[in-house]
Symmetry: C2
Amino acid sequence: MELKNDRFLRALQGQDVDVTPVWMMRQAGRYLPEYRNTRKQAGDFISLCQNPQLACEVALQPLRRYAFDAAILFSDILTIPDAMGQGLYFSEGEGPKFKKVIRSEQDVDKLPDIKVADDLSYVTDAVSLIRKELNGSVPLIGFSGSPWTLATYMVEGRGGTDHSHTKVWAYLEPDGFGKLIKLLTDAVTIHLLQQIESGADVVKLFDSWAGVLAETQFRRWVIEPTTEIVRRLKLAHPEIRIIGFPRGAGVLYQEYAHATGVDAIAIDGAVPAAWAAETLQRDRTVQGNLDNLALMTGGETLTNETHRILGALGGGPFIFNLGHGVLPKTPPENVTRLATLIREWKA
Amino acid sequence: MELKNDRFLRALQGQDVDVTPVWMMRQAGRYLPEYRNTRKQAGDFISLCQNPQLACEVALQPLRRYAFDAAILFSDILTIPDAMGQGLYFSEGEGPKFKKVIRSEQDVDKLPDIKVADDLSYVTDAVSLIRKELNGSVPLIGFSGSPWTLATYMVEGRGGTDHSHTKVWAYLEPDGFGKLIKLLTDAVTIHLLQQIESGADVVKLFDSWAGVLAETQFRRWVIEPTTEIVRRLKLAHPEIRIIGFPRGAGVLYQEYAHATGVDAIAIDGAVPAAWAAETLQRDRTVQGNLDNLALMTGGETLTNETHRILGALGGGPFIFNLGHGVLPKTPPENVTRLATLIREWKA
């Protein structure tokens, strides 16, 4: 289907654009009153993800308000481990948790052979619906958590810890832990292929906890599985564009960008823009990296930080985004202001 | 006083050494049974810090077991805000917290004019005692939290959050927040001068939450105050050597190293060693950066990771350390093994 607005895809292909394309991580989220209403209707967050009609509705909400250049599937990065029977739940103010944990090769061997097609049909149904409703207006981004990040949640049972169970297991028994990573690499690949076949134009890999690893472990558990996923996706769909986001990778963003073969590298808010322009943007598209607290603050802070980022990165292949998801307390009018700043900016 | 072992100071001055010097962050800590005994005697962690005799005892304990090349003052990075009346306390398993929080310029104006000399005499007494007991065997490191990190604890009331109160205040009212940073810059400088005058040979600045800032904020709240502290310390004591540790700074380690004028840059476990060798070690000493979980794991993991780091950094001015503090569950014999690996390593 011919897209009415292909800025986002053009930027991903390194082609010229009239203005810098923009979308935001968690653009469908709690900062929008209409999102809060739909979520209330669904019951809770997981029920919202699992209801394709309502997931489609919230995915479209930000596009009705803002001139964003892409839609993103509304789902969660932890749907794959949940489909493996780990028992995903959310405890208020503490983020996602799992009822079961995986801490040995025996635990891995007992994991059910998930039929991603069946067990995650609510995700692919949402992709199809959103794609249909978009009706060629803007491209649709599908996504998945990356194997390392999914593994940390499965091993720790939650996020945001020191990841000691996962890291020690990976050090002590790289073959056993590697089985879990391999299983997740397969599942992520299959799940993303299904999203692509259901209508996702682009896919993004979220590796939220990539930044906690020493370089040897980063290569083995972040770069290697990501490279394999990219290879298999491109083999099946040579035209697919892939965005990688190894959050917090610091200096290692560079090696990740080159080694994995992703088309675009998404960077967090702490990455200096001039460095990203010199080292990452030289041979691929960069996406990022406004501090979500600068967006929440608004005013001069928002203007200055937006202009700074555009000044450093806006001349090359670039997609404007945040360095992390939009925060629930963000005033929706700050997002309007951000979109205007980007539209009005001249290199 | 002539030091019996001056490897650490020589490495800090970029001079040749016979073997790579080593010490560990939190080398006096819960992984040692003798530490746990002394702490029990003191009552709790804060009482231990505030008792110069017992603080001296625990500072010396690791040196009796291991061939470390430096001692470090036993204290806490949060003594300065505690002396300002913020009410430091530790809640089990949750890290340090403050009873009061500072969230406005008015709150800053109400902070007492601390007399660092009086209120923190337990710290300088500990420095004098440790120095005396060391009797010229190895150098003594004094330390302080850096203004940004101290400010985050004072504003948030605790560590490990998203730092949103601190970051938004700094964005909205840089002058008001800047008053807090200036006050802390003065207090840190005075406190470190007193430690130097009490016998510290080297001082280290811990900026544990430097990695959460966008580059503009990193320059203003991390680099600027650190540069000012370094300038004032060197003005009063041109011979003093200063180690800076802006944990998690990623690509910005480089700018920090050059702009602040620290003699050595300490790096966390995620920094690739070859990058550190090329960019940081070129004109100053590097300290780091073994993953504390690799030390806890031991065995081949410990050997391989230690050799990897020595291979990349051992040829230049280098001090072996961890990327973060030693973990309580670390087997003490792994530390013996680490010291041996370093002593036996040949470039």
